[in-house]
């Protein structure tokens, strides 16, 4: 049972350079790399199609310069795409007037930026309340809401600080608080943790998952870090040179990379972090004595200890509680040490 699509975008192009629009029309909308180069343009996003469903974490990943930021800026219409179609809640985003866009952004979208982009002249409290201030919400009300979100991100007690008095991690917490202040339906995060050092990044990812567990937002999350992507994602879109190469769940990406490039990305990922019981189990109803039940969507990493410690295999069940297969110690060890299971 799939959730409804919240943001649907088809055939997005973004070409930088003079006369991009003309060049696009002249070539009938399908430019090759050579054509783009000979026109003196930069093909930042080329024919990208993605669908983002209600309540999921959709990760866009790719190397630096692959067009991730540009795509997300097109989705939020921070920049105008050269061509393409974007439907948000079924409405055409690109044909909206400035006024409608302002309205949508004020009520339905939030964004977190790579370099935090806090306003230096405002305190933590004022920064978090800024989106509401812009909407003309009375001071007492917006500050009350700002205090709520500040507490949510764990910065209670620092309301009166200025951004420069905070560490990078704390600053990004403020950025997150600010983007949550208006209770957006659609939440964009452009490499929110890339400017932080690894330990803090890990901590912020946990924090982020905790928040999502409470809020259930629809999230578009950009990263160039595959580990981060598989930790967070429901779906991952891999980009290369402006094109979306593959959209899939982390597991599918590891099991069936669409191209060499995606394969290269996924090769060194510990498979236990990605694979779920469903793809490792022995299908069919098991016989004999069992240690217990495990859901089929569980990742191996999460249940490895439990299975390895038990002499008996486990039943694997689907969402409805029906038994769909079984898994034992050997299969888990195979995955953990990276051995291909015997055919």
């Amino acid at each position: 049972m799939e959730k409804p699509i919240l943001l649907d975008c088809r055939g997005i192009w973004k070409l930088y350079g003079a006369g991009a629009q003309d060049a696009y029309k002249r070539h009938g909308g399908a430019l090759s790399s050579e054509q783009i180069r000979s026109e003196g343009l930069v093909g930042a996003v080329r024919d990208a199609t993605v669908q983002i469903r209600q309540g999921e974490i959709f990760v866009i990943m790719g190397l630096s310069g692959s067009g991730k930021s540009t795509l997300v800026r097109c989705l939020s219409r921070l920049i105008e795409p050269t061509a393409g179609e974007i439907l948000f809640e079924g409405r055409d985003l690109l044909s909206m007037t400035d006024k409608e866009m302002i309205d949508i952004r004020r009520r339905k979208m939030g964004m977190v930026f790579q370099h935090f982009a806090l306003l230096p002249h405002l305190t933590v409290l004022q920064n978090a309340a800024f989106p509401l201030e812009v909407q003309g919400v009375p001071r007492a009300k917006r500050e009350a809401r700002a205090r709520e979100v500040i507490e949510l991100v764990g910065l209670k007690g620092r309301e009166a600080y200025y951004p420069r008095q905070l560490s990078g991690g704390q600053q990004q917490r403020v950025g997150i608080a600010r983007s949550l202040a208006v209770e957006p339906d659609l939440w964009f995060l452009d490499e929110p943790f890339s400017a932080l050092d690894p330990l803090i990044r890990r901590e912020m990812q946990d924090e982020f998952l905790r928040l999502q567990g409470m809020l259930h937002k629809t999230i578009v999350f950009i990263t160039h870090d595959f580990d981060e992507a598989i930790r967070l994602a429901d779906h991952i879109a891999v980009m290369k040179d402006g094109r979306v190469v593959q959209v899939a769940t982390p597991e599918e990406l590891v099991l069936n990379p669409a191209t060499e490039y995606v394969g290269e990305f996924t090769r060194h990922v510990p498979r236990s972090k990605v694979l779920t019981l469903r793809s490792v189990m022995t299908p069919g109803a098991p016989e004999g004595e069992m240690a217990g039940d495990l859901p089929q969507t569980q990742r191996i990493e999460a249940v490895a200890d439990q299975i390895e410690a038990s002499a008996l295999p486990f039943r694997v069940v689907n969402a409805e509680g029906d038994v769909v297969g079984s898994i034992g110690r050997q299969a888990v060890i195979d995955v953990l040490i990276g051995r291909k299971p015997a055919p």
């Binding site: 800026r73 939020s76 921070l78 866009m101 302002i102 309205d103 949508i104 952004r105 004020r106 979208m109 939030g110 964004m111 930026f113 790579q114 370099h115 982009a117 306003l119 230096p120 002249h121 405002l122 305190t123 800024f130 989106p131 201030e133 812009v134 909407q135 309301e159 009166a160 600080y161 200025y162 420069r164 008095q165 600010r178 983007s179 208006v182 964009f188």
Partner: protein
Amino acid sequence: MTGLRDHLPGRNGWFWLALFAATWLLSRYSWDIYKAYDARWIIKYPSAYILPVEARISAFMRWLVEDAGFGLFSFRDVTRFISTLIEIPYDFMRDLLIDGFSSGLGNAAVQIAPPLSWIAIIVTLVAMGHYARDWKLAALIGACFLYLAVFGQWNSAMVTLASVLIAVPIGSVGGLLLGIMAYRSPLFERLLRPLLDLMQTVPVFAYLVPILFLFGFGPVAALVATIIYAMPPMVRVTIVALHGVPNETRDVGVMVGCTRRQMMWKVIVPSAAPTLMVGVNQVIMLSLNMVIIASMIGAGGLGFDVLSALRRLDIGGGIEAGLAIVVMAIALDRLSQAFASRNAQAYAPGRDRNLFQRHPWLATVLLVMICTYLLSHVSPVLQAYPDAATVSTGAFWSDFMGYINVHFFDVFETIKGALLSYLLLPVKRFFVGIPWPWGIMVMTLIGWRAGGLGLAALTGTLTALIAMVGLWDKAMITVYLCGVSVLIASAIGIPMGIMAAQNDTANRVVGSFIDTLQTLPSFVYLIPVVMLFRVGDFSAMIAVVLYAMAPAVRYAAHGIRSVDPQLVEAGLVSGCTPRQVLWRIKLPMAIPELLLGLNQTIMLALSMLVITALVGTRDLGQEVYIALTKANSGQGIVAGLAVAFIAIVADRILSATASRMRRKMGLEQ
């Protein structure tokens, strides 16, 4: 095997050498040629062909003031309107600081309230110093203003302060608004840029005359001139600052749904505030720089004191008032810089705090104001600093200068004589002797070699125009004075800059020396120089050198410092001595920067030259100055434009050369 060939100039070198030789010969023998062929036009532009621009402009200005109208209102209404707009706040400021508030006019005036007491003003400034940074700054500012009171400069200083307090907000806000418009509309920016460039090169004196003509002698005209002078840097800084706001910050504004106006005033301008404050600081410094010049058209205050002392050749009085301006400049400079870099402290939020606890300084200042007001009825000392307690240093300075003059007269005279007869006079003879048609040709040629045909057309036309309005001779004297001063300023400044770049201690010493030089208003240089060397070209030159040296030092230091360290290492690895590293690697690589420094030095020298007209030079500056005393706007504008043309020609040629060299070195595409 370095043969003679290595030391011969290349093809380019031969060209310049030949050009110089020809010019020198023509200059040396122009008089003889004129005699031999009876061709007076060679040395003097025929007066029958002088373009009547001057008269036209004068007539136009007269028409503007007397007859011009735009239907509903006349041009005169516009200037009256601007006058009132400036006059009201200015009068208020003056009442507040010196005159006191009164009702009624003339003899019937009754004072309602006295001006702020000197104590209250000092406490206010100290409070601002502490608020902006710390006790050290507060003490410095307190000391500066106490100095003004103790040394009897208080009243003049307050007049000057009043005009600064009016000019700075108008100049800053006006500059900010123009900058915002330029930021929003690229078209407007394209229109504004050349105007800003011109404003920077036209000497202040040039627009002093038309302003005098439009607004009449008095503080309003002085304020208008000050604002026009101080605003362009603010416009530039604003444009740079707004463009410097990170894209992400702008995106934040869009994503939270800002309207256009909210975007500008809630996101972009506040984010750019620190840089904008640098612009405000510039406006303050330039306003103070104008203090003396503005007093020529009625500003009063410290500037007027300096000017009249200079005219009376009153050594002590001039130095006293000049020092007062310096002291005020230092205080206001430091204060505004502190505001620019102020870090707001996080405060512990407390609910039940009263006004006094939340705003201790505001409360203190108000309290002091009220107390001094009430108590001044009891003791007038609290109202105005007692005259009896002032100390005058005038006599001391006069004696000091007298002492120096008596004991070192011979030394100074020898130096002066030597420089005059071996440097200044030969150069002067060279420039003045150049026949004007040849001069135009040479400038066209130089423009062509430096930047191609377009530049050649520009330099040729501008040079020709100078000749055609009949100002060739004076322009050549300007070029000679400027040239010699720039030469000496570079000869002193560039080695200083190099030293500063190589050595940290030298850097600190040179840095603070240059900072001080730049804080001083340009006129201040004139006072001691005139005292020591009396009026004339030589004094003018010394004052210009002092004033124009700073950029030579700064750019040299910056140029040497920004040489790619890898190049230096490559030199060291291949066994260069430190000397060779400097001469073979750093200096050649720094040449473009040195050229830019030279460019700035020339600009400053030209603007200072106009001021030195006061000490009796015979150049374009004097022409402007005469126009000012006669309120002849045509003459003033034409002479001012001639100076601007010289500046533009020098600027374009040097910039073109610098960027060509940068391209050659691969530093620029």
